[in-house]
Amino acid sequence: MMRRNCLAAFAAVCFLGLPSFAQMSITGAGATFPYPMYSKWFDEYHKIHPDIQINYQSIGSGGGIRQVTEGTVDFGATDGPMTDEQLKAFREKRGGDVLHFPTVLGAVVPIYNVPGIATDLNFTPEALAGIFLGKVTKWNDPAIAKANPKIKLPGNDILVVHRSEGSGTTYVWVDFLSKVSPDWKSQVGTNTSVNWPVGIGGKGNEGVSGQVKQTANSIGYVELIYASHNKMAYGRVRNSSGNFVKAELASVTAAAAGVTMPDDFRVSITNPAGKNAYPISSFTWLLVPEQMQDSGKREAMKGFLKWMLGPGQKLTEALEYAPLPKAVVGQEEKAIAKLH
């Protein structure tokens, strides 16, 4: 995957870059989750500003953070905000800070395969944590059954399916579990890959969904976009207000509106306040160094960020990404001025 993207980026440089060599070329690398959105944005932006070419390699959030810290790319992208140590490492290496700019929102949904059950199941946070900790082992466990009073659940053993590779999707999922379950927080914790107490690993969203489809009585988690593109059934999750909410663009944007945004935009929005908020949602960020030596690149980056927050946000829903809430857009527009 990574090699193919590198090759694609290389090919793009060769075929598009060379004929009009006077143009500005900006390179970025990082998260795979927002890649379809970013490539659409960069493409559209290039149509409006033919002199600016933005190349993006979706090598994973970890790679994005590493490369922007090393200075091998102009900007990075990540599904989980940089930690304090990573920010410190950036400051030591590059002098100056790196700014987080939220771009779109994503959500992670539970998928399952329980024979005889065609309706959407309701999941409480406690049930999800229990299942993934290996404490809730049967489908008719009261933790699941109480939330689904009208459905007769079988007494079969649950098989947990998780992502095998490090992934932003996993980060969001376990971040939610850490917030709702003290046991999860102390025993497992939050990261792009964790030491899973139970279950088997599938590679990518397609690996997890394939395994769930093939194995009766299994449960897994995938990105909302993947589930809706593939017309998969997925469960509702109870939010902090006690409502069972289905993940949709509106409920995901509502989740982002339910948190107070800090000045550096590094915020987790899992389990937020808000009646209609879907609790397993997340921002995804662009990582832009505060100081850019090349003034041309800096202005081009600023121009793109402004466009992304304005007309760019209107392109999100066609690709089924949830757009940013208005308040966040306003706050980000102010933050663009910090780039110097």
């Binding site: 590779e165 030491n195 088997i200």
Partner: protein, 321 residues
């Protein structure tokens, strides 16, 4: 009159000798550089792996290879479950592919009509060129359902009393990975072994036949032992591929780093975990631990190859007696 031609002749011989010497030296140098470059690349590889795994080596020391935990959150890393998975899947793969591969090679070189043999060999060599991700997909979509519905229930019926074949089967497992690996490496064994068997001198066969051996006795008691070393070579090649295979294994092994006694349980392998976790590994220690896994795989490959060679040396000596 008689001196001139001889002078010309001696001049020619000396020039020729010089040319030959110069040519030999150039060839010697060129081939030496080729050989040295391989050696150099190997050394650089080990050096890089050694340097880039420093943090993990200092923190965990030798306990790295006997620790069962792999926890990226608490940054506690151990290689044992991955080493276990790599070795077990390779053994399963060899147990299946060696008899099948050698049997097929004997058929193709000794029994089949030349035209059939050439066609089949061409197809087998095509198989060796199929990318591993295709084998992984075949594994998930074709092999796993077949294993699930037919082979594994039958295995459990016969051998279910052994811990090796106990417990639930979810399709992905050490066993599935071993079977997919065996499909991947069998073309290597067949095509190399066939070449080796074909290169056994006709006189060997004629001698055996003239002493009254049947066709099969000739093949099994004369041709195969004569080609023994070449066949071992093909198995080493296959083993090396099985130990280092990444994509196909990742897709069917279940990616669960736990030590489990059952072959039907999910596991994980060294190459698979490196490919899975490298891109999203953010902390330095995490990356160093992954690179140290690479170093472990390198060492494991050397040890296993060494053991295999030792085994063959000792059994080979016995056969020759």
């Amino acid at each position: 009159m008689s001196a001139a031609p001889s002078a010309v002749a001696s001049f020619d011989i000396r020039a020729f000798a010089r040319r030959v010497r110069a040519g030999d030296q150039i060839a010697y140098l060129l081939t030496l550089i080729c050989a040295a470059s391989i050696f150099l690349v190997t050394c650089l590889l080990v050096y890089e792996l050694w340097i880039s795994s420093g943090l993990a080596r200092h923190k965990f020391g030798w306990s790295f290879i006997i620790t069962q935990t792999w926890d990226p959150v608490k940054e506690d890393f151990g290689a044992l479950p991955f080493m276990f998975g790599t070795v077990v899947t390779s053994i399963v793969a060899l147990l299946i592919s060696v008899p099948v591969g050698i049997g097929a090679a004997i058929f193709l070189s000794e029994m089949a009509l030349p035209r059939i043999s050439d066609t089949l060999t061409f197809l087998i060599e095509l198989l060796a060129a199929v990318p591993s991700v295709i084998y992984g997909l075949l594994g998930i979509f074709l092999l796993v359902p077949v294993l699930e519905s037919g082979i594994v229930p039958a295995l459990k019926g016969v051998l279910g009393f052994l811990p090796l074949f106990s417990g639930p089967f979810y399709g992905v497992s050490l066993f599935s990975a071993g079977v997919v690996l065996s499909l991947m490496i069998v073309p290597f064994i067949i095509s190399v072994s066939r070449e080796v068997l074909l290169s056994v001198p006709v006189e060997q066969r004629e001698a055996a036949l003239s002493l009254g051996s049947t066709r099969w006795e000739t093949t099994w008691k004369v041709v195969v032992p004569y080609a023994r070393r070449g066949i071992y070579g093909s198995i080493f090649l296959a083993l090396a591929r099985a130990l280092g295979e990444t994509m196909a294994v990742t897709m069917v092994i279940g990616n669960t780093p736990k030590l489990q006694s059952s072959l039907l349980a999910p596991g994980d392998s060294i190459a698979s975990v490196i490919a899975n976790q490298f891109t999203e590994a953010t902390s330095d220690l995490y990356i160093h631990a992954l690179i140290e896994l690479g170093l472990v795989l390198f060492a494991l490959t050397i040890i296993i190859n060494g053991l295999a060679r030792l085994l063959i040396l000792t059994t080979g000596a016995r056969i020759e007696k």
